[in-house]
Amino acid sequence: MATGNARNPTERPTLAGTLSADGPLDAPAALALIEAVTRQAAACHANGRLHLDIDAAHIRMTANGPALDEPAAESVTLGRGVSDDLCPPELRDTPRVKVPASIGAARDTLTAAGIAFDPKRIDVYRLGVLLCRVLTGDIVAAYLRSPQTAARVPSDVRPVINAALGLRADNRCATCDDLLAAIACVGDGTGQGHTATDAACGVNDVAVAGPTSDEPPFTHLGPYRIDARIGHGGMGDVYRGFDAALDRVVAIKVLPDELARQPDFVARFHAEARAVAKLVHPNVVQIYAIGEDAGRYFFAMQYVPGESMTQLLERRTRLTTDEALPLLTQAVEGLAAAHDQGLIHRDIKPGNLLVDDTGRVLISDFGLVKAAQAESAITVTGVVMGTVDYIAPEQARGERVDTRADLYALGVLMYRVLAGRLPFNADTPTAMIFLHAYEAPPPIERFVPDLPDAWRRVIDRLMQKAPDDRYPSARALLADLHALRDGRVPTFGRDGSGAAHVASTPAHGRRAPLMIAMILIVGLAVVIALSLQHRADTSDAPPDPTAVQLAATAPDDDPEVVTRLIGHAAPVTLVDYSDNARWAVSGDSANTLRVWDLSSASPVSSRPLVGHAGKIFDACVSDDGERVVSAGDDGSIRVWDVASGASRILPEQATDVPGRLALSATGDVVAIGELRRITARDLRDDTTPLRVDESVYAVSLTGDGRFAASGGWDKVVHLYDVKTGERLAELSSLHEHVYAISIAPNGDTVAAADAKGDLCVWDVRTPDAPTLVNRFNLYARVWRLRLSRDAKRLLVRSGERGMIVYDVASGRTLFNRDDVTTLPGLSPDGRFVLIPDGNNVDVVRVPDGR
């Protein structure tokens, strides 16, 4: 593909010839070769030139090592259809472009073609291809597909190839220096790696956040070699590592970045971990060491080969009493030892009970929950910490907890193990919290009719709502478990009256009004706690200690959900934020609208807004939450007074797709696209300062209603001054009809997508000289675009690819939900999305993409 001058032949053998004769290189030789060639390519770049011909045929094997031929190619053609071994993935779906060898000229060429791409990546990519070739003797496609080919690459070298190839947008070597750093992280490629220079291993560090995978994002932490990721949870990822000094496998838990950035948390974490490290018991996972490496806090602990009780219960659903007793007894022995030292677990659940290959049970994660909990925030944290399926009533009520909270959780766990189901089922974490706080569980004998009465009474006793009514200690429970094992009659704790307490639980029914009131109060407290958290998170303040804890309140099936808006009686089809993120408006398939106060996660009014006779396909709410405009396929555009629920119909005609209605944050100006006309109507005096006849498929407004954007058949995005009706600019980078537009609330940035899913983002601070910031192609019909206020994030809801939140500058996907078929909203700070989910709307956190 490269074009240029022919080179003079040379006597020296090429690398291609060597590979052909001798076969692939071993890893140390391959890494040394690539390192040498990368340095030569870096020197070429330093001279302002791309090499463009880095491959085995252009490397001479000399006595002094590999020598990359002098660059000769004048240009290279890359883009759609060019071989995978030549073209980086970033360019494979772009139109073909002839990239000149001069780095400056290459940049200009790519920018002119609307392609945001560092041309140095071309050479870095070729180096990745070359590394693949010298190790496997095969092409990149074979490495990507075949386990047999991949097997020829040592596991610690694969991340280098992957980063050089740029398979992942968030972990790409952009420059030769990046690649050299990645190679340095590997060491000699024998799997032993370096131990001292890992702070420089920036390339691999990028990938801590992300889906669970066996491929770890770094190769070493402190003195430990990292071999594989083996778990993932709210408290961080867990890796299997190796302690070479002591020749033992270890498990390493790395704290989430959100927590590691908080000095208070780190101090608490150290204090708790030190306390827990003193606990040595055969039924508790031993903590070996605490450490920090390149800002990453971790602790090394005993590696337990086996499975968690969660996995065991996935296989078996439920256990007999004979099977359960030894497992539970061991867990209680571990718990008793911890309680003896004053340690409370706070998150006893099947996932934290590990069963090794010999059947030994070990409790994991002691101290972590406590460490994550600020003493001053006990009410909030008491509510949200721990899995709510096992949450003790006093935790649910936000009260201070003691060791008996662990006993309640153990009671729930025993119920789960023996009955094959949890005592409570609820659709939301909030509902589950209420159930644990106030409702009696269904009698376990309903599900296990042959359960011995003594077992039932032990569980009943453990699950008492009041801590004083439970076993006084894990030791007392242990004594009863031993009694069950030995066929003796348990004492059920100090007074042996546990059964009587449970038997009296129907008396709760007599306190129903009081209980309901309490549920409402506590429920409100929880919701407010959550929404306060949400509000706090939507500010620009750094995340606070409760940020991660909130994840614990998420529905089990979706850990990203912060809270849920519940109130629609039909499936929600669209939702959007107000510009100040205080309100949201949603519409459902029964043609009703609801406005939400996000500070309380509740509907503004118990009555929905009803009036449209057909499907609603657009709705916007003002910053004061008092005005909504909506468009329906009954053809009407309505302006609603939220307080009264009254609406009036505007004279403009609603068309049949979303994206043609916008409301200013002030609630004064509404922009309407009518296929062949854009109108901006000032609702204060019902005038239409802007009325232009042109094809309009999409409109958007700035928050102050001063500027409008429209796009349509002519493939151009038009910017208007609403006040004067003047056309300010035409943005013409798109090649097809414009189907979706979003102006950032401050009016500085505009995003638009065309019929082919080509998507452009412009900086329009200088309207007469707009700048193309970035360009993506989704190859899908875009239904909604929403830019964050700072224009750093962009929500795209497309026909084929669901909902994606992009980092605008890099084009990275921060969040992708391909199951979203409705119209979601993006918070103005870009950190949350509103996603319709059945009759509800989920407030979901956008991962920060680190």
């Binding site: 259809g81 060019v82 047999q148 992942r168 066996d214 398939s589 026909g799």
Partner: protein, 288 residues
């Protein structure tokens, strides 16, 4: 305008199908999409039905699209789409092959003398979709499904590597295309056997989703909004029947990849497509 909408919302059909856009002199992007959808099926059809070499099959594919353009067959088809579009393509491809065989020896002379392609010949008979026999249509359908499946698998591979889950794909490929056992894959990748089994479970589900997505996108491109749901169901059902008759989806994937070496993939024909589009651009400009 727009394509499909989700399960909750449906809007009136205002979207133009790809064929409608092509008939209205669609842009380069439309032609590229159309060729991307049918180039490989036509090549495979020509190779199998006409027993042609890969290079000759590409000539047939290029000529077929040119006949569609010059003879305004898409326009005719759009006004009366009583047969499947692929049946029309099959019929045109068959005619091109038949004509080619009759004139093969004269082809180069013809081109040299007149500077015109084979398809400019005025004596090319009127072509109707009904000219294709059921057997021919079945061959074409099989080629189309293979292309669809190939796209789904390749898209899945890219997506999984983007998510740092490349080993998921390798498990699929190793098991299906290389005939490796789970244990062999586990050893090759250095991943626990249990993880390999989990990857396998997940990637099989992902493959089905990818195939569904490919099929849905294809149907949405060529079908008016109101008919998308029904048409998709029909195509999905027919695909199920086809796959069942050919040993299941994995057997077909195996067949697809067995016919290609990674460095000479018959499913990657972007260069030829680009050349054809360039030629179309010339034709369209000449006619304007």
């Amino acid at each position: 305008m727009p394509g499909s909408w989700g399960s909750f919302v449906s809007f009136p059909p205002t979207r133009h199908t790809l064929i409608q856009r092509l008939v209205d002199r669609g842009g380069e992007a439309d032609w590229r999409q159309f060729l991307a959808d049918y180039w490989v099926p036509l090549c495979l059809f020509a190779e199998r039905y006409g027993r042609l070499s890969a290079a000759d099959a590409e000539d047939v594919a290029a000529a077929t699209f040119e006949v569609l353009l010059r003879k305004r067959l898409l326009e005719q088809w759009a006004s009366d789409p009583s047969a499947k579009l692929r049946t029309l393509l099959c019929a045109v491809g068959k005619h091109v092959m038949g004509t080619r065989l009759r004139t093969d020896t004269r082809r180069k002379d013809l081109m040299r003398e007149h500077g015109r392609s084979l398809t400019d010949r005025d004596d090319l008979p009127t072509i109707k979709a009904s000219d294709a026999t059921d057997g021919e249509v079945d061959v074409f359908y099989g080629a189309w499904i293979e292309a669809l499946l190939h796209n789904a698998v390749e898209g899945l591979m890219r997506s999984l590597h983007e998510q740092n889950k490349g080993d998921y794909f390798r498990v699929l490929y190793g098991r299906v295309c290389e005939g490796l056992t789970m244990r062999q894959i586990s050893e090759a990748l250095g991943v626990k056997l249990a993880s390999v089994e989990n990857y396998d479970k997940a990637v099989r589900r992902d493959l089905t989703r990818a195939l569904e997505s490919q099929m849905r996108q294809h149907v949405e491109r060529y079908t008016p909004d109101k008919q998308v749901a029904d048409e998709y169901r029909r195509e999905w059902d027919r695909l199920g029947v086809y796959l069942k008759a050919h040993g299941g989806v994995e057997q077909v994937v195996r067949h697809v990849y067995a016919s290609a070496s990674p460095d000479d993939d018959p499913f990657v024909r972007d260069d030829a497509i680009q050349q054809t589009i360039d030629r179309f651009t010339d034709i369209i400009h000449q006619s304007e």
